[in-house]
Symmetry: C2
Subunit: 227 residues, 2 copies
DNA sequence: CATGCTTGGATCGTATACGATAAGATCAAC
DNA sequence: GTTGATCTTATCGTATACGATCCAAGCATG
């Protein structure tokens, strides 16, 4: 009874969970790019676990839309069509808007301060030109607000959307000139709306516009580059 | 080489898939009600398969939000708070509206006719008072339209929402007096809009209102019953 | 030289087995 | 009779093993 808890670490992480986080992290940080083939045995060997939990992790990711899995053939990181992607982002903005409005009443002063810290660090990223970190912080920013969302189902829809977006994160996101600055400013405005107890609808529309703004900027940017 | 294909049946269904459909069907038709405990070994025995594919199926359902799974404790059909539920439906309506608008250009005359057949059968259900079948047909109706949705990610958000709603389907849905009739009429109107090549925005709003109408009716109904 | 068949290896799919965990039952002490 | 500790059992979590499947490379045949 002493030996297993002697590990010091929190004992609570199943192998399956480990594999899940492992693969998901690599997809999100771009090590595994869309189309990358995920071989169960390989991953299992890397993590020094058997294939069973790895398989389970992969199927979870499949259910989340981050990977595709074909019977007797194997899994690969989901491929995405950029055009589809933009529509998805826009639709996601509808859900995010709602989630923001629902969460607002439960956001504490501490959260607001934390969010402002994150936002400040995002400004720094603008100067240092660190798109990767910027994107990460952006996610954290919204997470601080959404973590209070009283409706887990809606929150789940948001997370699912994020998982999808995650696959292309670094290839699509990054800095669209000028937009990142706007984005940071809009964050501050969102916080002020929350702070002042704005009407849910006003918040919803503001949050929706925040995402839509990014989308428009992205499309313009790509159009200007002749895509 | 002869023996395995001699089964006549389509060989293509993994045990895991079998288990997945099995459990999901029972959740949807109400055999497994929210809170029902899903014991891996039991299900495995019923299906005459080992626990591994069952486990995989359960985790998939977990990722879809239909069941909850606690480490070393087990799985159960997801519990839902009705209040949360209504908000979820409303938010889902936003996504469904978008999905409808995106799908419309690809809906064929054949689809329209099929949809009308389904809708006619829904009218029959009104007479025979068959809520279960009505709900099933309702899902089919929308599936006929959505199957053309050019954006799999958005479609996936819709399906995920449906999966969540499925858990409570028979306890929440069913007939709200008068609403079912309206619903059938709105379906016909939606079909006409699609047929006439209406603007995407018009379609989106109409489809959104369709869902929202059901929600309002539901809330009123429950309020009148003193809930 | 092209085409179809055979064979081999890599990978997946699932069964079985066993250790680990948690929840309830039993029993002793107060 | 209540409380607390120990024990039992049901169930989960994962490793290992093996059969099934797919893919590609090589060979035979026209």
């Amino acid at each position: 009874m002493a030996s297993e808890s002697a590990k010091g670490e929190v004992v609570t992480e199943s192998k399956s969970e480990l594999a899940y986080r492992f693969v998901k992290a690599r997809i999100e940080n771009g090590s595994y790019t869309p189309g990358f083939r995920l071989v169960l045995g390989q991953i299992a060997k890397q993590l020094e676990v058997s294939v069973v939990p790895v398989r389970e992790a992969i199927r979870r990711l499949e259910a989340e839309g981050a990977v595709t899995f074909e019977r007797n053939v194997g899994a690969q990181v989901a491929m995405v069509d950029e055009r589809e992607y933009f529509y998805t982002m826009e639709t996601l903005s509808l859900v995010e808007g709602r989630a923001t409005a629902l969460s607002a009443p439960f956001v504490t002063a501490l959260d607001l301060s934390e969010a402002r810290d994150i936002n400040a660090e995002m400004r720094d990223c603008l100067d240092h030109f660190d798109p990767h970190r910027f994107t990460e912080l952006n996610r954290q920013f919204h997470a601080v607000i959404f973590e209070h969302c009283p409706n887990p189902h809606i929150l789940d829809l948001v997370h699912r959307g994020w998982n999808r977006l995650a696959v292309l994160r670094d290839s699509i996101f990054g800095f669209v000139p000028g937009r990142a600055q706007e984005s940071v400013d809009e964050h501050e405005r969102l916080l002020q709306l929350i702070e002042s107890g704005a009407e849910p609808l006003e918040l919803e529309l503001a949050a929706r516009a925040h995402r839509t703004g990014t989308l428009d900027a992205l499309l313009n940017h790509q159009a200007n580059q002749g895509r």
